[in-house]
Amino acid sequence: MSVDATTVRRIAHLARIAVSEDEVPHLQGELNAMLAFVEQLSEVNVEGVEPMTSVTPMQMKKRQDVVTDGGIADDIVANAPATEGHFFQVPKVVE
């Protein structure tokens, strides 16, 4: 598996990362190197092997249905570049 220049531009767009045209070949090379590296795994025969999700047998931790958090609007918006009355503000997005 490898990616072409168009795919690189598309992935960048989906992630909303500005990638200039002259950066594309370099990123394409890096991504393809990573894919090739990961692709080595396909050499292993995993026929009939259950995917492993944890090294030790673990059950997912669950939480009780109680309100233990919230009421910290000041903290929530503290780092936002633009806020008003505890709302975040972002450049207008309308469908």
Partner: protein, 492 residues
């Protein structure tokens, strides 16, 4: 499926059949969110029901709310669906300000609930089974306000992270009536189960509707998805419009473009949501922050044992045990609150076997009729179940006539009070004392000798005398006694 169960649309070149599938997003009833301890309460000051997890601050990890899992399983059981003891949460990646994570935690390949079915009822006693493809748990998004400023959108994350059940139907729905009946029934089941409040105005229940058209029984056409419908009536209107639009394009030799559309209820039409539809590319992958969701069969069995009686079963019981018509039974079970009210009336009745059917008539005709007239719902009824049961007892035991009962109902509606005491204090008792009625009968016959003479030739004019006697007695005479007395006195 026979064509009798659904409507075909007439085109210039022949009949067309609609194929409809729905994705319903139902907000789970829980105190806290799916993966955080913040409150799910609707509204609230902006960003006040938000934890650092919901705001996707670096290093925060999701921990699943076990009640949300139970609610999903209960719903699956209520839809007669397969419950998957192991399911997986995935990340659905997309970039938008309503989701600070940059992805929605959802379930893609392994949902918590698999195939099930819902029985829907249509006019004229017809019914159709609609298949359920799956149900999965996922996070709701935040809310954007676009009208607060000319250049900025405002973001409130209070709803962000609240648990949703996405319930996906099979493409089994064939017209707008079925689609409306499906949403209505699903909403009713959710409300019986107490897993979603079904409040469409507040957005607790929203539907995405996939519509395509084809020649009856022919190969499937290309579908369009109408997003974010939050009214059952609009769903019906949008489907009708969208199907017509597609037929027009196809009959003009065009092709349907697969796209997302929005319904504009003011204009009564659907329009394309994005001019350049970007193919969905969510790049799903298993969420590395969450282990698979696993639970035991005992966990499921325990929830199943505690499930409330659902509308289909309740309806069958009303018909079997109380002799109600299928129609009356469906009216009573459609809303959970109505069924609860009727069953409370039954509990209070002195003679349930005798009066259960009359109670159904009273709840449906008098009570619902009156409530509808005043635009109230059953929870705001001025006449409570105990009072209505007392009125029905009074009719059943012959203390008051059905006509007087309507007056009594009106008094209780307006003024409240104990119906039995009201009947005493206002002298509304039915007169069964023959000598008292006889006096009235004699007086009326004496005052109308011509009419009395006619009765022998025209027996149907007896009704006029019954009416006069009832009127003279203020409606309190027992109609059967009046009838018997008149017959013997007039010799018919």
């Amino acid at each position: 499926m026979s064509t009798a169960t659904h409507k075909l649309l007439k085109g210039a070149t022949g009949d067309w059949e609609m194929v409809i599938g729905m994705e319903i997003h139902a907000q789970v009833i829980s105190n806290s969110k799916l993966f955080s301890g913040a409150s799910t309460t609707f509204g609230g000051e902006p960003n006040s029901h938000v934890s650092l997890v919901d705001a996707a601050m670096p290093g925060m990890l999701p921990v699943i709310n076990e009640e949300c899992v139970r609610q999903a399983v209960r719903t699956g059981l209520g839809l007669n669906a397969k419950i998957n003891l192991r399911s997986v949460f995935d990340r659905k990646n997309y970039f938008y300000p309503d989701s600070p994570q940059g992805y929605q935690i959802s379930q893609y390949k392994s949902p918590v609930v698999g195939e099930g079915e819902v029985l829907i009822e249509l006019d004229g006693g017809r019914s159709v089974t609609i298949g359920i493809e799956r149900l999965h748990l996922e996070q709701d998004a935040g809310k954007l306000l676009h009208d607060q400023s000319p250049s900025m959108s405002f973001v409130d994350l209070n709803r962000c992270g609240v648990a949703l059940m996405e319930i996906v139907s099979k493409p089994d729905i064939r017209d707008a009536e079925q689609a409306k009946a499906y949403v209505t029934k699903l909403r009713s089941i959710l409300r019986y189960l107490g897993t979603c409040d079904g409040d469409m105005e507040k957005g607790s229940l929203r539907a995405d509707v996939n519509v395509s058209v084809r020649r009856p029984g022919g190969p499937l056409g290309t579908r369009c998805e109408i997003k974010n419908m939050n009214s059952i009536n609009f769903i019906g209107q949008a489907i009708e419009y969208e199907a017509r639009r597609q037929i027009e394009i196809l009959e003009d030799g065009g092709a349907i473009e697969q796209e997302t559309r929005l319904y504009d209820p003011n204009k009564g039409e659907t329009r394309s949501m994005r001019s350049k539809e970007e193919a969905h590319d969510y790049r799903y992958f298993p969420d590395p922050d969450l282990l698979p969701l696993e639970f035991s069969q005992e966990f499921v069995d325990d929830l199943k044992a505690k499930l409330p009686e659902l509308p289909d079963k309740k309806k069958m019981r009303f018909v079997a045990d109380f002799g109600l018509s299928a129609y009356d039974a469906s009216v009573l079970v459609a809303e959970r609150e109505s069924a609860v009210f009727y069953e409370t009336v039954l509990d209070k009745l002195a003679n349930r076997a005798r009066d259960a059917k009359m109670a159904a008539n009273w709840v449906i005709n008098e009570l619902f009729g009156r409530l509808n007239k005043e635009g109230r719902d059953i929870t705001g009824s001025p006449v409570n179940a105990e009072q209505l049961a007392a009125i029905i007892d009074l009719i059943g035991e012959g203390t008051i006539s059905g006509k007087i009962a309507k007056d009594l109902f009106e008094i209780v509606w307006q003024e409240g009070g104990d119906p039995r005491a009201l009947v005493e204090s206002r002298g509304m008792k039915q007169v069964t004392d023959l000598s008292a009625i006889e006096k009235v009968v004699d007086d009326i016959i004496a005052a109308n000798p011509d009419k009395a003479a006619q009765v022998k030739d025209k027996p149907q004019s007896l009704g006029w005398f019954v009416g006069q006697v009832m009127k003279a007695s203020g409606g309190k005479a027992n109609p059967q006694s009046v009838n018997d007395l008149l017959k013997s006195k007039l010799g018919v």
